[in-house]
Protein backbone atom coordinates (compact mmCIF):
# COMPACT_ATOMS: atom_id res chain seq x y z
CA UNK A 1 0.00 0.00 0.00
CA UNK A 2 1.18 3.51 -0.70
CA UNK A 3 0.09 5.16 2.49
CA UNK A 4 1.20 8.56 1.30
CA UNK A 5 -1.53 8.36 -1.28
CA UNK A 6 -4.01 7.06 1.23
CA UNK A 7 -3.41 9.59 3.97
CA UNK A 8 -5.14 12.94 3.78
CA UNK A 9 -2.92 15.67 2.30
CA UNK A 10 -3.54 18.05 5.16
CA UNK A 11 -2.47 15.64 7.89
CA UNK A 12 0.64 14.86 5.86
CA UNK A 13 1.33 18.57 5.81
CA UNK A 14 1.22 18.78 9.60
CA UNK A 15 4.75 18.47 10.97
CA UNK A 16 5.30 16.23 13.98
CA UNK A 17 6.58 18.01 17.05
CA UNK A 18 10.35 18.09 17.46
CA UNK A 19 9.98 17.71 21.20
CA UNK A 20 9.62 13.96 21.10
CA UNK A 21 13.39 13.43 20.93
CA UNK A 22 13.87 15.23 24.26
CA UNK A 23 11.30 13.04 25.91
CA UNK A 24 13.01 9.96 24.47
CA UNK A 25 16.30 11.03 26.07
CA UNK A 26 14.49 11.95 29.27
CA UNK A 27 12.67 8.64 29.60
CA UNK A 28 16.04 6.83 29.49
CA UNK A 29 17.48 8.91 32.34
CA UNK A 30 16.93 7.82 35.91
CA UNK A 31 17.81 10.90 37.93
CA UNK A 32 16.60 13.57 35.56
CA UNK A 33 14.38 16.43 36.66
CA UNK A 34 11.65 17.40 34.29
CA UNK A 35 10.34 20.92 34.14
CA UNK A 36 9.18 20.00 30.68
CA UNK A 37 5.62 18.83 30.98
CA UNK A 38 2.85 21.36 31.31
CA UNK A 39 0.77 19.63 33.90
CA UNK A 40 -0.07 20.22 37.56
CA UNK A 41 2.08 18.11 39.89
CA UNK A 42 -0.89 17.85 42.26
CA UNK A 43 -3.11 14.82 42.29
CA UNK A 44 -6.80 15.64 41.82
CA UNK A 45 -8.16 16.59 45.27
CA UNK A 46 -9.57 13.58 47.09
CA UNK A 47 -13.18 14.79 47.37
CA UNK A 48 -13.29 15.12 43.58
CA UNK A 49 -11.76 11.68 43.02
CA UNK A 50 -14.19 10.29 45.57
CA UNK A 51 -17.15 11.75 43.70
CA UNK A 52 -15.97 9.93 40.56
CA UNK A 53 -15.58 6.68 42.49
CA UNK A 54 -18.98 7.11 44.13
CA UNK A 55 -20.65 7.60 40.75
CA UNK A 56 -19.20 4.24 39.69
CA UNK A 57 -20.43 2.60 42.89
CA UNK A 58 -23.88 3.93 42.14
CA UNK A 59 -23.67 2.45 38.67
CA UNK A 60 -23.59 5.69 36.67
CA UNK A 61 -21.88 4.10 33.71
CA UNK A 62 -24.05 5.15 30.79
CA UNK A 63 -23.84 7.94 28.22
CA UNK A 64 -24.95 11.36 29.33
CA UNK A 65 -26.77 13.82 27.08
CA UNK A 66 -24.59 14.95 24.18
CA UNK A 67 -23.94 18.38 25.62
CA UNK A 68 -23.05 16.95 29.04
CA UNK A 69 -25.08 16.32 32.20
CA UNK A 70 -27.57 19.06 32.94
CA UNK A 71 -26.41 19.37 36.54
CA UNK A 72 -22.81 19.80 35.36
CA UNK A 73 -23.78 22.50 32.88
CA UNK A 74 -25.76 24.25 35.61
CA UNK A 75 -22.71 24.12 37.87
CA UNK A 76 -20.41 25.42 35.14
CA UNK A 77 -22.82 28.26 34.45
CA UNK A 78 -22.91 29.22 38.11
CA UNK A 79 -19.11 28.86 38.46
CA UNK A 80 -18.42 31.16 35.50
CA UNK A 81 -20.84 33.67 36.90
CA UNK A 82 -19.33 33.47 40.39
CA UNK A 83 -15.67 33.60 39.41
CA UNK A 84 -15.49 35.53 36.14
CA UNK A 85 -18.78 37.40 35.89
CA UNK A 86 -19.59 35.48 32.69
CA UNK A 87 -23.22 34.69 31.91
CA UNK A 88 -24.06 31.62 29.88
CA UNK A 89 -27.34 29.75 29.75
CA UNK A 90 -26.71 26.19 30.85
CA UNK A 91 -29.32 24.74 28.53
CA UNK A 92 -28.16 26.26 25.25
CA UNK A 93 -24.76 27.91 25.58
CA UNK A 94 -22.52 25.36 27.26
CA UNK A 95 -21.06 22.17 25.81
CA UNK A 96 -19.01 19.74 27.91
CA UNK A 97 -16.06 18.43 25.89
CA UNK A 98 -13.22 15.95 26.16
CA UNK A 99 -10.67 18.44 27.44
CA UNK A 100 -10.27 22.00 26.27
CA UNK A 101 -8.51 20.66 23.17
CA UNK A 102 -11.68 19.13 21.76
CA UNK A 103 -13.43 22.44 22.31
CA UNK A 104 -10.74 24.27 20.30
CA UNK A 105 -10.97 21.72 17.52
CA UNK A 106 -14.77 21.95 17.38
CA UNK A 107 -14.79 25.74 17.44
CA UNK A 108 -12.35 25.91 14.54
CA UNK A 109 -14.17 23.29 12.52
CA UNK A 110 -17.64 24.78 12.86
CA UNK A 111 -16.48 28.23 11.79
CA UNK A 112 -13.76 27.75 9.18
CA UNK A 113 -14.52 27.61 5.49
CA UNK A 114 -11.69 26.68 3.10
CA UNK A 115 -9.16 29.47 2.87
CA UNK A 116 -10.35 31.37 5.94
CA UNK A 117 -7.51 32.85 7.93
CA UNK A 118 -7.01 32.30 11.62
CA UNK A 119 -4.70 34.65 13.48
CA UNK A 120 -2.63 32.64 15.93
CA UNK A 121 -0.45 34.68 18.29
CA UNK A 122 2.80 32.82 18.98
CA UNK A 123 4.59 31.57 20.97
CA UNK A 124 1.55 29.69 22.18
CA UNK A 125 0.20 26.20 22.73
CA UNK A 126 0.93 24.13 19.64
CA UNK A 127 -2.54 22.91 18.68
CA UNK A 128 -4.09 26.00 17.07
CA UNK A 129 -2.15 25.93 13.80
CA UNK A 130 -2.45 22.22 12.99
CA UNK A 131 -6.14 22.12 13.95
CA UNK A 132 -6.78 25.16 11.74
CA UNK A 133 -5.04 23.44 8.83
CA UNK A 134 -7.04 20.26 9.37
CA UNK A 135 -10.22 22.32 9.27
CA UNK A 136 -9.17 23.79 5.91
CA UNK A 137 -8.16 27.15 7.27
CA UNK A 138 -4.92 29.05 6.99
CA UNK A 139 -3.08 29.85 10.22
CA UNK A 140 -1.51 33.30 10.25
CA UNK A 141 1.13 33.32 12.96
CA UNK A 142 1.57 36.59 14.73
CA UNK A 143 4.78 36.89 16.72
CA UNK A 144 4.36 38.37 20.17
CA UNK A 145 7.26 40.32 21.61
CA UNK A 146 9.18 39.80 24.82
CA UNK A 147 9.37 43.58 25.30
CA UNK A 148 5.55 43.64 25.47
CA UNK A 149 5.59 40.81 28.02
CA UNK A 150 4.20 38.67 25.20
CA UNK A 151 0.90 40.51 25.18
CA UNK A 152 -1.00 41.07 21.97
CA UNK A 153 -1.02 44.73 21.02
CA UNK A 154 -3.72 46.41 18.88
CA UNK A 155 -1.08 47.48 16.35
CA UNK A 156 0.11 43.90 15.93
CA UNK A 157 -3.45 42.70 15.52
CA UNK A 158 -4.30 45.37 12.96
CA UNK A 159 -1.26 44.46 10.89
CA UNK A 160 -2.36 40.81 10.78
CA UNK A 161 -5.98 41.36 9.75
CA UNK A 162 -6.86 40.82 6.09
CA UNK A 163 -10.20 40.51 4.34
CA UNK A 164 -9.87 36.74 4.80
CA UNK A 165 -9.49 36.87 8.57
CA UNK A 166 -12.21 34.80 10.18
CA UNK A 167 -10.93 34.01 13.65
CA UNK A 168 -8.53 35.39 16.21
CA UNK A 169 -7.17 32.97 18.80
CA UNK A 170 -6.59 34.57 22.20
CA UNK A 171 -4.35 32.22 24.19
CA UNK A 172 -4.21 34.05 27.54
CA UNK A 173 -2.99 33.38 30.19
CA UNK A 174 -0.44 31.97 27.83
CA UNK A 175 1.38 28.69 27.60
CA UNK A 176 4.44 28.93 27.25
CA UNK A 177 5.13 32.57 28.09
CA UNK A 178 3.00 33.10 31.19
CA UNK A 179 1.83 36.33 29.56
CA UNK A 180 -1.59 37.71 30.48
CA UNK A 181 -3.92 40.39 29.14
CA UNK A 182 -5.56 42.69 31.67
CA UNK A 183 -8.81 44.58 31.06
CA UNK A 184 -7.02 47.57 29.55
CA UNK A 185 -5.04 45.38 27.14
CA UNK A 186 -8.23 43.56 26.14
CA UNK A 187 -10.11 46.81 25.67
CA UNK A 188 -7.53 47.87 23.07
CA UNK A 189 -8.01 44.56 21.24
CA UNK A 190 -11.80 44.89 21.45
CA UNK A 191 -11.54 48.31 19.87
CA UNK A 192 -9.87 46.77 16.81
CA UNK A 193 -12.47 44.01 16.61
CA UNK A 194 -15.57 46.18 16.95
CA UNK A 195 -17.35 46.61 13.64
CA UNK A 196 -15.64 43.57 12.08
CA UNK A 197 -17.01 40.03 11.69
CA UNK A 198 -13.95 38.47 13.25
CA UNK A 199 -14.73 35.76 15.79
CA UNK A 200 -12.49 35.05 18.77
CA UNK A 201 -11.59 31.73 20.31
CA UNK A 202 -10.51 32.68 23.81
CA UNK A 203 -8.59 29.78 25.33
CA UNK A 204 -8.95 30.46 29.05
CA UNK A 205 -7.77 27.12 30.38
CA UNK A 206 -5.33 28.94 32.72
CA UNK A 207 -7.90 31.53 33.83
CA UNK A 208 -7.68 30.46 37.48
CA UNK A 209 -3.90 30.64 37.49
CA UNK A 210 -3.16 34.33 37.51
CA UNK A 211 -1.02 36.02 40.12
CA UNK A 212 -1.90 39.44 41.44
CA UNK A 213 -4.86 40.19 39.21
CA UNK A 214 -7.97 38.15 38.44
CA UNK A 215 -8.29 36.98 34.87
CA UNK A 216 -10.67 38.97 32.69
CA UNK A 217 -12.42 37.23 29.82
CA UNK A 218 -12.68 39.02 26.51
CA UNK A 219 -16.38 38.03 26.52
CA UNK A 220 -16.88 40.48 29.42
CA UNK A 221 -16.16 43.50 27.24
CA UNK A 222 -18.79 45.49 25.39
CA UNK A 223 -19.71 43.97 22.01
CA UNK A 224 -17.34 41.03 22.53
CA UNK A 225 -19.76 38.46 23.99
CA UNK A 226 -21.44 37.85 20.63
CA UNK A 227 -18.14 37.11 18.89
CA UNK A 228 -16.32 35.17 21.58
CA UNK A 229 -16.06 31.43 22.06
CA UNK A 230 -14.75 30.82 25.57
CA UNK A 231 -12.81 27.57 26.03
CA UNK A 232 -12.08 26.34 29.52
CA UNK A 233 -11.74 23.10 31.46
CA UNK A 234 -10.78 21.36 34.65
CA UNK A 235 -7.26 20.18 33.81
CA UNK A 236 -5.28 23.12 35.10
CA UNK A 237 -7.64 24.68 37.64
CA UNK A 238 -8.48 21.44 39.46
CA UNK A 239 -5.46 19.28 38.56
CA UNK A 240 -7.66 16.97 36.48
CA UNK A 241 -5.66 16.49 33.26
CA UNK A 242 -6.30 12.76 32.98
CA UNK A 243 -10.06 13.09 33.42
CA UNK A 244 -10.27 14.90 30.08
CA UNK A 245 -12.86 17.43 31.10
CA UNK A 246 -13.30 20.67 29.22
CA UNK A 247 -16.14 22.92 28.18
CA UNK A 248 -16.94 25.65 25.77
CA UNK A 249 -19.37 28.56 26.06
CA UNK A 250 -20.54 30.72 23.19
CA UNK A 251 -23.58 32.26 21.55
CA UNK A 252 -26.26 29.65 20.98
CA UNK A 253 -25.86 29.05 17.21
CA UNK A 254 -22.14 28.32 17.67
CA UNK A 255 -22.73 25.93 20.57
CA UNK A 256 -25.52 24.22 18.61
CA UNK A 257 -23.14 23.63 15.70
CA UNK A 258 -20.39 22.36 17.98
CA UNK A 259 -22.85 20.05 19.72
CA UNK A 260 -23.82 18.60 16.34
CA UNK A 261 -20.21 17.76 15.57
CA UNK A 262 -19.51 16.54 19.10
CA UNK A 263 -22.51 14.19 19.07
CA UNK A 264 -21.24 12.41 15.95
CA UNK A 265 -17.55 12.35 16.84
CA UNK A 266 -17.59 11.88 20.60
CA UNK A 267 -21.18 11.20 21.67
CA UNK A 268 -20.70 12.50 25.20
CA UNK A 269 -17.77 13.27 27.50
CA UNK A 270 -16.86 10.47 29.98
CA UNK A 271 -19.61 10.05 32.56
CA UNK A 272 -17.36 9.35 35.56
CA UNK A 273 -15.38 12.48 34.80
CA UNK A 274 -18.57 14.52 34.58
CA UNK A 275 -19.64 13.43 38.05
CA UNK A 276 -16.22 14.30 39.40
CA UNK A 277 -16.45 17.65 37.63
CA UNK A 278 -19.78 18.44 39.32
CA UNK A 279 -18.06 18.01 42.67
CA UNK A 280 -15.13 20.16 41.51
CA UNK A 281 -17.52 22.98 40.59
CA UNK A 282 -19.54 22.69 43.78
CA UNK A 283 -16.77 22.51 46.35
CA UNK A 284 -13.48 23.00 44.56
CA UNK A 285 -12.91 26.75 44.90
CA UNK A 286 -10.72 26.18 47.97
CA UNK A 287 -8.56 23.70 46.05
CA UNK A 288 -7.99 26.28 43.36
CA UNK A 289 -6.81 28.87 45.89
CA UNK A 290 -4.54 26.37 47.58
CA UNK A 291 -2.86 25.27 44.34
CA UNK A 292 -2.55 28.79 43.03
CA UNK A 293 -0.81 29.87 46.21
CA UNK A 294 1.63 27.00 45.87
CA UNK A 295 2.36 27.80 42.24
CA UNK A 296 2.82 31.44 43.13
CA UNK A 297 5.52 30.62 45.69
CA UNK A 298 7.40 28.53 43.19
CA UNK A 299 6.97 31.16 40.49
CA UNK A 300 8.49 33.90 42.60
CA UNK A 301 11.38 31.70 43.61
CA UNK A 302 12.07 30.61 40.05
CA UNK A 303 11.89 34.08 38.48
CA UNK A 304 14.15 35.57 41.12
CA UNK A 305 16.72 32.82 40.78
CA UNK A 306 16.72 32.63 36.99
CA UNK A 307 17.59 36.30 36.96
CA UNK A 308 20.18 35.73 39.66
CA UNK A 309 22.05 33.04 37.73
CA UNK A 310 21.98 35.18 34.62
CA UNK A 311 18.99 34.28 32.45
CA UNK A 312 16.80 37.31 32.11
CA UNK A 313 13.20 36.46 32.71
CA UNK A 314 10.20 38.76 32.80
CA UNK A 315 7.73 38.06 35.56
CA UNK A 316 4.95 35.89 34.17
CA UNK A 317 1.57 36.78 35.63
CA UNK A 318 -0.31 33.66 34.61
CA UNK A 319 -0.27 29.90 33.90
CA UNK A 320 2.60 27.88 35.43
CA UNK A 321 5.47 28.58 33.11
CA UNK A 322 8.46 30.84 33.03
CA UNK A 323 9.96 31.75 29.69
CA UNK A 324 13.51 32.96 30.24
CA UNK A 325 15.55 34.59 27.49
CA UNK A 326 18.56 32.40 26.67
CA UNK A 327 19.99 34.49 23.85
CA UNK A 328 22.89 35.60 26.05
CA UNK A 329 24.23 32.03 25.94
CA UNK A 330 24.72 32.20 22.19
CA UNK A 331 22.88 28.89 21.82
CA UNK A 332 19.67 28.23 19.94
CA UNK A 333 16.83 27.19 22.18
CA UNK A 334 17.10 23.60 20.92
CA UNK A 335 20.86 23.47 21.53
CA UNK A 336 20.34 24.91 24.97
CA UNK A 337 17.73 22.34 25.92
CA UNK A 338 19.64 19.40 24.52
CA UNK A 339 22.89 20.36 26.27
CA UNK A 340 21.16 21.22 29.52
CA UNK A 341 19.43 17.85 29.48
CA UNK A 342 22.53 15.84 28.57
CA UNK A 343 24.98 17.73 30.81
CA UNK A 344 22.81 18.49 33.84
CA UNK A 345 19.83 16.19 33.41
CA UNK A 346 17.18 18.84 33.58
CA UNK A 347 14.48 18.99 30.92
CA UNK A 348 13.05 22.29 29.74
CA UNK A 349 11.38 22.91 26.38
CA UNK A 350 12.87 24.98 23.55
CA UNK A 351 10.78 28.06 22.81
CA UNK A 352 11.01 27.27 19.10
CA UNK A 353 8.56 24.42 19.68
CA UNK A 354 5.85 27.01 20.33
CA UNK A 355 6.09 28.79 17.02
CA UNK A 356 8.39 31.28 15.34
CA UNK A 357 8.36 33.87 18.13
CA UNK A 358 9.70 31.38 20.65
CA UNK A 359 13.27 31.07 19.42
CA UNK A 360 15.74 32.48 21.93
CA UNK A 361 13.64 31.38 24.90
CA UNK A 362 12.98 28.19 26.79
CA UNK A 363 9.94 27.13 28.76
CA UNK A 364 10.22 25.77 32.28
CA UNK A 365 7.13 24.58 34.07
CA UNK A 366 7.03 25.31 37.79
CA UNK A 367 4.26 22.85 38.51
CA UNK A 368 7.01 20.78 40.13
CA UNK A 369 8.17 20.33 43.69
CA UNK A 370 10.13 23.14 45.32
CA UNK A 371 12.95 20.66 45.85
CA UNK A 372 13.17 19.88 42.13
CA UNK A 373 12.93 23.55 41.26
CA UNK A 374 15.73 24.46 43.66
CA UNK A 375 17.89 21.62 42.38
CA UNK A 376 17.23 22.69 38.78
CA UNK A 377 18.42 26.19 39.60
CA UNK A 378 21.63 24.82 41.11
CA UNK A 379 22.19 22.69 38.02
CA UNK A 380 21.41 25.62 35.74
CA UNK A 381 23.94 27.76 37.58
CA UNK A 382 26.49 25.03 37.04
CA UNK A 383 25.54 24.63 33.38
CA UNK A 384 25.86 28.33 32.66
CA UNK A 385 29.19 28.60 34.49
CA UNK A 386 30.61 25.68 32.49
CA UNK A 387 29.21 27.07 29.29
CA UNK A 388 30.84 30.47 29.85
CA UNK A 389 34.13 28.80 30.68
CA UNK A 390 34.04 26.71 27.50
CA UNK A 391 33.01 29.67 25.40
CA UNK A 392 35.75 31.76 27.00
CA UNK A 393 38.32 29.13 25.96
CA UNK A 394 36.97 28.91 22.44
CA UNK A 395 36.71 32.69 22.15
Amino acid sequence: MNYEQILNDRIQGVKPSGIRKFFDILEEMTDAISLGIGEPDFVTPWHIRDAGIYSLERGHTKYTSNAGMLQLRREISSYLNRRFDLHYDYSSQILVTVGGSEAIDLALRVMINPGDEVIVPVPSFVCYGPLTEMAGGVPKYLELKAENQFRLTPEELKSAITDKTKILVMPFPCNPTGGTMDRKDLEAIAEVLRGTDIMVISDEIYAELTYGQRHVSLANLTDMYERTVVVNGFSKSHAMTGWRMGYVCAPEPIVAAMTKLHQFGIMSAPTTSQYAAVEAMRSGDGDIEHMREEYDRRRRYLVENLNRVGLSCFEPKGAFYVFPDIRSTGLTSEEFCERFLVEEKVAVIPGSAFGPGGEGFVRACYAASMKDIAESIARLDNFLTNLRRKQGREG
Binding site: S17, I19, R20, F23, L26, E27, S34, G36, I37, G38, E39, F125, V126, N175, T241, R297, R298, R300, Y301, E304, N305, I349, A353, M370, K371, A374
Partner: protein, 159 residues
Protein backbone atom coordinates in the same frame (compact mmCIF):
# COMPACT_ATOMS: atom_id res chain seq x y z
CA UNK B 1 5.07 36.10 58.41
CA UNK B 2 2.61 33.37 59.31
CA UNK B 3 3.16 32.10 55.78
CA UNK B 4 6.73 31.43 56.77
CA UNK B 5 5.56 29.22 59.62
CA UNK B 6 3.19 27.35 57.35
CA UNK B 7 6.04 26.69 54.92
CA UNK B 8 8.39 25.58 57.68
CA UNK B 9 5.72 23.27 59.01
CA UNK B 10 5.36 21.75 55.56
CA UNK B 11 9.06 21.29 54.95
CA UNK B 12 11.70 22.65 57.30
CA UNK B 13 14.52 21.60 54.98
CA UNK B 14 13.77 24.48 52.62
CA UNK B 15 16.66 26.92 52.63
CA UNK B 16 16.26 30.52 53.78
CA UNK B 17 16.52 31.77 50.17
CA UNK B 18 13.73 29.50 49.02
CA UNK B 19 11.54 30.41 51.96
CA UNK B 20 12.14 34.09 51.46
CA UNK B 21 11.37 33.97 47.75
CA UNK B 22 8.25 31.94 48.41
CA UNK B 23 6.99 34.42 50.98
CA UNK B 24 8.16 37.38 48.95
CA UNK B 25 10.54 39.03 51.42
CA UNK B 26 14.33 39.55 51.38
CA UNK B 27 16.35 36.57 52.66
CA UNK B 28 17.73 38.60 55.57
CA UNK B 29 14.23 39.38 56.76
CA UNK B 30 13.15 35.74 56.61
CA UNK B 31 16.29 34.70 58.46
CA UNK B 32 15.66 37.21 61.23
CA UNK B 33 12.02 36.16 61.52
CA UNK B 34 12.95 32.49 61.87
CA UNK B 35 15.52 33.32 64.53
CA UNK B 36 12.93 35.27 66.45
CA UNK B 37 10.39 32.47 66.17
CA UNK B 38 12.96 30.05 67.51
CA UNK B 39 13.87 32.32 70.41
CA UNK B 40 10.23 32.85 71.29
CA UNK B 41 9.69 29.11 71.07
CA UNK B 42 7.03 29.58 68.43
CA UNK B 43 9.18 27.13 66.50
CA UNK B 44 9.95 24.41 69.04
CA UNK B 45 12.27 22.35 66.89
CA UNK B 46 12.79 20.50 63.65
CA UNK B 47 12.39 16.77 63.30
CA UNK B 48 12.15 14.13 60.60
CA UNK B 49 9.17 11.83 60.17
CA UNK B 50 10.48 8.31 59.84
CA UNK B 51 8.81 5.12 58.73
CA UNK B 52 10.55 2.78 61.19
CA UNK B 53 8.77 -0.22 59.70
CA UNK B 54 10.96 0.12 56.64
CA UNK B 55 14.15 -0.40 58.62
CA UNK B 56 14.78 -3.24 60.97
CA UNK B 57 14.41 -1.33 64.22
CA UNK B 58 11.69 -2.90 66.40
CA UNK B 59 9.46 -0.47 68.19
CA UNK B 60 5.92 -0.21 69.43
CA UNK B 61 3.86 2.88 69.99
CA UNK B 62 0.90 3.12 72.29
CA UNK B 63 -1.79 5.71 72.83
CA UNK B 64 -2.82 5.76 76.46
CA UNK B 65 -6.04 7.29 77.68
CA UNK B 66 -5.48 8.58 81.18
CA UNK B 67 -8.11 9.56 83.71
CA UNK B 68 -7.16 11.72 86.67
CA UNK B 69 -8.90 13.02 89.77
CA UNK B 70 -11.14 15.93 88.62
CA UNK B 71 -9.35 19.25 89.08
CA UNK B 72 -8.96 22.76 87.77
CA UNK B 73 -6.94 23.39 84.60
CA UNK B 74 -3.87 24.30 86.66
CA UNK B 75 -4.20 21.02 88.44
CA UNK B 76 -4.16 19.22 85.12
CA UNK B 77 -0.96 21.04 84.21
CA UNK B 78 0.74 19.89 87.39
CA UNK B 79 -0.19 16.30 86.91
CA UNK B 80 0.64 16.48 83.19
CA UNK B 81 4.10 17.74 84.03
CA UNK B 82 4.69 14.75 86.25
CA UNK B 83 3.87 12.51 83.31
CA UNK B 84 5.54 14.22 80.38
CA UNK B 85 8.89 14.53 82.12
CA UNK B 86 9.45 10.88 81.29
CA UNK B 87 11.54 10.50 78.16
CA UNK B 88 9.30 7.68 77.00
CA UNK B 89 6.43 10.15 76.50
CA UNK B 90 6.45 11.26 72.91
CA UNK B 91 3.34 13.46 72.85
CA UNK B 92 0.71 14.40 75.33
CA UNK B 93 -2.56 16.29 75.17
CA UNK B 94 -5.32 17.43 77.54
CA UNK B 95 -8.61 16.19 76.10
CA UNK B 96 -12.25 17.00 76.21
CA UNK B 97 -14.60 14.05 76.44
CA UNK B 98 -14.60 10.77 78.29
CA UNK B 99 -10.99 10.83 79.48
CA UNK B 100 -8.57 13.55 80.46
CA UNK B 101 -5.13 13.02 78.94
CA UNK B 102 -3.79 11.34 75.84
CA UNK B 103 -0.26 10.09 76.32
CA UNK B 104 1.64 8.69 73.38
CA UNK B 105 4.68 6.63 74.20
CA UNK B 106 7.11 4.48 72.24
CA UNK B 107 9.10 1.55 73.47
CA UNK B 108 11.13 -1.28 72.04
CA UNK B 109 8.64 -3.99 73.03
CA UNK B 110 5.09 -4.42 74.31
CA UNK B 111 6.57 -5.39 77.66
CA UNK B 112 8.53 -2.20 77.90
CA UNK B 113 5.41 -0.12 77.25
CA UNK B 114 3.34 -2.19 79.68
CA UNK B 115 6.02 -1.74 82.31
CA UNK B 116 6.00 1.99 81.86
CA UNK B 117 2.23 2.15 82.25
CA UNK B 118 2.14 -0.19 85.24
CA UNK B 119 5.20 1.03 87.09
CA UNK B 120 5.49 4.70 86.18
CA UNK B 121 2.22 6.09 84.94
CA UNK B 122 -0.51 4.34 86.91
CA UNK B 123 1.01 4.92 90.35
CA UNK B 124 1.25 8.71 89.88
CA UNK B 125 -0.87 10.38 92.50
CA UNK B 126 -4.13 11.61 90.97
CA UNK B 127 -4.16 9.09 88.10
CA UNK B 128 -7.35 7.09 88.49
CA UNK B 129 -7.24 4.87 85.45
CA UNK B 130 -5.50 4.13 82.13
CA UNK B 131 -6.48 2.40 78.90
CA UNK B 132 -3.59 1.44 76.64
CA UNK B 133 -4.11 1.13 72.88
CA UNK B 134 -1.24 -0.19 70.81
CA UNK B 135 -0.80 1.25 67.36
CA UNK B 136 -0.86 -1.55 64.80
CA UNK B 137 -0.02 0.38 61.69
CA UNK B 138 0.66 3.97 60.84
CA UNK B 139 -1.06 5.32 57.77
CA UNK B 140 -0.43 9.00 57.93
CA UNK B 141 1.37 11.44 60.17
CA UNK B 142 1.65 15.20 59.78
CA UNK B 143 0.13 15.00 56.29
CA UNK B 144 2.69 12.42 55.20
CA UNK B 145 1.52 9.00 54.10
CA UNK B 146 3.39 5.88 55.26
CA UNK B 147 3.49 3.96 52.02
CA UNK B 148 6.24 2.98 49.69
CA UNK B 149 6.18 5.18 46.65
CA UNK B 150 4.17 3.69 43.80
CA UNK B 151 6.54 2.97 40.96
CA UNK B 152 5.56 5.42 38.32
CA UNK B 153 6.04 4.64 34.71
CA UNK B 154 5.94 8.02 33.20
CA UNK B 155 5.44 8.66 29.56
CA UNK B 156 5.95 12.24 28.61
CA UNK B 157 3.56 14.15 26.46
CA UNK B 158 3.93 17.59 25.05
CA UNK B 159 1.43 20.05 26.42
Amino acid sequence: MEKLLELLEQDCTMGVEQLAAAVGVPAEEAKAAIKKYEEDRVVLGYQAIIDWDRVSKESVTALIEVNVVPQSIDGFDRIAERIYQYDEVESMYLMSGSFDLTVIISGRTLREVAQFVGERLAPIQGVTGTATHFILKKYKEKHLVFRPQDPEEREYIFT
